[in-house]
Subunit: 168 residues, 2 copies
DNA sequence: TATTGTTATACTCTATAACTATA
DNA sequence: TATAGTTATAGAGTATAACAATA
């Protein structure tokens, strides 16, 4: 900072900070709405949304953990909360007895449907209102590319379970 | 989702999700590094970075709270932690007796300097590696515009203190 | 032996509300 | 009365490690 910073120029720094700030503000606004309108945290909403999107509304715990930047125990905790509220159901997987299938219930789908319009409103108002169609296409392509790079590159949240060499 | 979602088309949805995912992965990686290399959370690093950037390395608590999406008490807590470690110092403001000036200490500057190269490395590797120069310029301009829009538009984190009508 | 998931636990963080002091 | 900041408190969330069960 101050003087350009060793390695990132001013332009890069600006883009980096803007990204952090934009996503923070967006998540803050979206989280606030989800809690008020559906008593859901953003993480819980993401879990439900993924399930609604999945074939038959079902995913294994592991499939859920991937994609969400999340520890296994954290996911168990959140899924447990959703389970208590009857928004999802857990069942044994037929193929692999170790796995747990998570399925959205009708109530879960209803809640997502209830919450989605307002959610989308906020996103549109905050994120997309100041964009042109060209902006949108550019941003989507670019961020998609970056995401793939991040997912592919090096250390993922889905890091090997048994390793503890986190330098910490 | 599934069917385009009421109000956001597939392209918008993709950009939205990519943004959330990219910033989550980035923050996760960056946070991990900061903790390992400097025992700092991302929030703490942001506080220090803002101070290092400020004239005379000083800002009022209120100035710090703006910009960071943060409650006042949360900021007091984090600044308190930094204070205990001798990375910042607090003092009364000469002009306004109510205000508290926060100043980075030499130790704080040293720590930022120590941590910055690795921090920047991660950001560059994850975020900027898959970008062209044009991409960078575009992204910076676009996100800057969106940020200004978000800051200007409606409800900010710096929301009026005395209001409690949060629909909650 | 590796993988899936849960649990127990300990801790960090965050927000709300009440409070003090100054403008 | 409004603003700046702190504190007490209480709760949500997260991660680590240990554990059970299946592959």
């Amino acid at each position: 900072m101050t003087d350009p910073a060793p390695g990132l120029n001013a332009e890069q720094l600006g883009a980096y900070f803007a990204l952090i700030e934009v996503s923070s503000l967006l998540q803050y606004a979206v989280d606030e709405h989800l809690r008020a309108d559906g008593d859901l945290s953003f993480v819980q909403f993401q879990i439900l949304a993924r399930l609604v999107d999945a074939p038959d509304g079902r995913l294994r715990m592991t499939d859920l953990a991937d994609g969400l930047v999340y520890s296994r125990s954290g996911l168990t905790y959140q899924v447990g909360l959703l389970d208590k509220r009857g928004l999802i159901a857990r069942s044994a997987s037929p193929d692999d007895e170790r796995s747990v299938m998570v399925t959205v219930t009708a109530a879960g789908r209803d809640l997502v449907a209830h919450v989605l319009p307002g959610h989308v409103d906020r996103v549109r108002q905050l994120l997309f209102e100041p964009m042109t169609g060209t902006d949108l296409a550019t941003l989507g392509e670019l961020l998609g590319r970056v995401r793939d790079h991040m997912r592919a590159t090096p250390p993922r949240s889905a890091k090997p379970r048994a390793r503890r060499d986190r330098t910490a």
